[in-house]
Symmetry: C2
Subunit: 204 residues, 2 copies
DNA sequence: TAAGTTTTTAACTAAAAAGTTAAATTTTAT
DNA sequence: ATAAAATTTAACTTTTTAGTTAAAAACTTA
């Protein structure tokens, strides 16, 4: 008896749904479009996932897990706090560069329905890891190796500097009146620019 | 002959539309909801604005004009660059605090339809003013009054630090597992925190 | 081959929403 | 008072979309 597990088809649907939902949002996405994007039909969509909402939540949960920064590796290494921050900035900007539509998608949908977040992050260990990271910061601040800041705000600052320009991309493009490629160059520079900026701010 | 200018009704419609569009987006907004929010009916909506798209664009243009930072006053004053930045940070965070849904609304809609921006900002003098601001920065950098950075990235950094935490509000709330009020306190602290952070980064 | 599973085809229903209209009523300005 | 303008009422059309279904075809595997 074949359990209904043709992962390749389920995967095709998930990929297509991801693409369409990220582009158009929950309201804007059309099941027919997802189906044709996956190279199948609506009936088969219904065969695998019973409803649009169902499909959306599967995608949404995956995306949240991807974008909430994973401090685990960073906290565990034995580098200085500056090296860790630099490492984080590089990794996170790389990640956002490769998934440029993710932040806007999540922010849009979470704002439209904040309830959705409530359940998801409750169990993860992200907050604990973040606190651990904050404690390391405080230690190095007290020793005088870096300037003293409120650690929560410092973490917020780091993430803001990494993510926001990618979120504001089309607005930036209009204000600066430049083409896609030119903006990409600017955004690519940010890895070094943000690292430098943070280094200077933290210099004791 | 009374010209069709009962501004009070037109204004009521615009206010209602602003509220609903900002909350639900173009796709999610319902004309019936806008009408009842304005205390009128759909027919009158049609009497003033011919279509949903028409109404939306009126709102959208207003919102864009509001959120793109106005450097005019700042550029013109005779303060030091640090004072100007501090002034800007305070004013912009105040503005975002008072209009917390604006950034998400604009980012969502611009991402969904980047064409919309193209026309709007073409004629404004924002870019010129921004360049003027950048030149002032460069001058003070060369004199050694502040640390040298790429001025475009510096402006991006300032705006990122001001806006992003407000955009990410519901995600933050979920990650930190705190209530609305507690997050508001944290966000309120940012005016001072961001000012301090920028001062430290720019210290020669 | 035979049974079970996956996929397509091709309809269809029900609901929601935008857009439209015409006629009646109310308000405003002259 | 009366003409013009604003507003309501209430119905209607059209379009779009999610959701559903049944039957046939194709594929998989024992």
């Amino acid at each position: 008896m074949a359990v209904p597990l043709d992962l390749s088809t389920e995967q095709k649907i998930l990929e297509a749904a991801k693409k369409v939902f990220i582009q158009k949002g929950l309201d804007g996405a059309r099941l027919d479009e997802i189906a044709s994007e996956a190279g199948i039909n609506k009936a088969l969509l219904h065969y695998y996932f019973r409803s649009k909402e169902n499909l959306f939540e599967t995608i949404f949960d995956q995306m949240i897990a991807k974008i909430v920064p994973d401090f685990t590796a960073i906290v565990e290494s034995s580098k200085t706090i500056e090296e860790k921050i630099e490492h984080f900035v590089h990794r996170y900007i790389d990640f956002v560069s490769e998934n440029p539509q993710l932040p806007v998608f999540l922010i849009t949908e979470v704002n439209r329905n904040p309830e959705r977040m409530k359940d998801i992050l409750g169990q993860t260990k992200n907050f604990a890891k973040m606190q651990q990271f904050a404690f390391q910061m405080i230690t190095e601040m007290q020793v005088g190796r870096i300037k003293s800041f409120n650690p929560l705000h410092l973490i917020l600052n780091i993430i803001s500097l990494c993510v926001f320009p990618f979120i504001a991309k089309p607005i930036l493009q209009a204000v600066l009146q430049i083409k896609d490629d030119d903006l990409s160059i600017i955004l690519h520079q940010r890895k070094e620019e943000v690292s430098l900026f943070l280094r200077e701010a933290l210099r004791p």
